[in-house]
Symmetry: C2
Subunit: 208 residues, 2 copies
Amino acid sequence: MADYGQYPSRILEDAVDAISSLPGVGRRSALRLALHLLKQPAENVHHFTRAIDTLRDDVRYCRVCRMISDEEECSICSDRSRNRAQICVVESVRDVMSIENTGQYHGLYHVLGGIISPINGIGPSDLTIRELTERISSLPDPSGAEVILALSGDVEGETTAFYIYRQIASSGVRISSLARGLGFGDDLEYADSLTLGRSIVNRQEFRP
Amino acid sequence: MADYGQYPSRILEDAVDAISSLPGVGRRSALRLALHLLKQPAENVHHFTRAIDTLRDDVRYCRVCRMISDEEECSICSDRSRNRAQICVVESVRDVMSIENTGQYHGLYHVLGGIISPINGIGPSDLTIRELTERISSLPDPSGAEVILALSGDVEGETTAFYIYRQIASSGVRISSLARGLGFGDDLEYADSLTLGRSIVNRQEFRP
C-alpha cells in the first residue's frame, strides 16, 4: 500500500499535474478544477477533452495570412470588400481578434506566429516572415500598398519590427507602425516618461 | 463562407466554450488557454486530456470511507496505526486533504460527497449518510467511539450536521463537532458577532 502523500490517488495527482501545467493555474486551483470535473457527468468531461483534442489536431491556418481558420482561406482574406492593399502584421491570432474588435481596420492581416526573441530561442526563421516577404513581392502595386507593423512596444517587438522593415523596405510598400502615446483616459501624472515623450514628439492637430 | 464573428474558427470557439465551462474561468482566460494549448506539442496536449479522461473514468473510491483511492480501501482506512474508533465526517475529498495537512488528526474519515442543500436539490439520500450509519452500527464498541462532524459553519453545514446527529444519536457514539471561534491571528475588532459570541461561550482554560 502506497504511503499517504499529499494526494490520495495517483490518478488524481496526474490530473492535478496536467491541469496545473496550464499558465496561471496553481496546484490549489488545479485540485479544485479536478474535483469539479469529477462531479460532472462523464459525457460532459469527454466533450471537454474532445474539444481540446480537436483544437490541437484539426485546427487549420489560412494559407494567406496564417490566421486560425476552418477554411483554406480565412473569412478576412476571402472578404472582397476589405482593402487588399493593406497588410497589418501582428504577433498572434489574439492580436487579430483584438484589432477586429476595434472595428477601425478594414485591410488584411499577416500573423507572424510569435516574435523574435533570442532569449527564448525564437529567430526570424521560426516566424512567417518569409511568407510575408513573398506576399509583398506578389502584390500587384507595391507602391500603392501599406504594411502596418502592429507589434508590441517592448524590445522584442521593436526588434522584430526593425528586422521586418529591413526585409521589405526595398519593395516600395509604405511601412507604418501603431501610434504610441497616452491611452485614452490616461492620467498624465502616471504616464512613463518614454511614452509621454513620444506623445509630445508625435503630437497631433487638435480637432475638437 | 461563414461570417467573421467573434471567433475566426468554429473549432477554436468550441474549445473556448469547453474551457470557459470550468468554474472561475472566463472567456478571455479560456481563449488565452486555448491559444496556449495550440502552441504546445500535440503529445503534451493529448497527455493533458488523457489525464482528465482517466480521472473521470477510472477514479475509484474507498469502499469504507468513500475517499478517492486507487485501491479498494484507501491508505488511511488500511493504515492500522490510525485510531479506528474515531470517524471524522466531512463534505468532500478536499476536506480530508485539508485536515490531513494539519497533522492533528489520526482517526478515520467518512466523505459525504456533498452537503444537504434543498436549493440545489441535494437531499440526504444523495449523500453517503446511509453508509455512515451502517458503518457506525457495525462498530465493535460504539460507546468508546467518536464521530466528529467536521462540516462548514453555514446553514447547509449545520442542517446536515443536525440531520446526521438525529440518525446516529441512538447508537451510543460520542458526537462532536469542530471548535468555532476566532481564528489564530484574527483581530477581535473585525470578528463577526456570532463567532465572537461563540468564542466567549466556549472559552477555554488559558494555558500559556
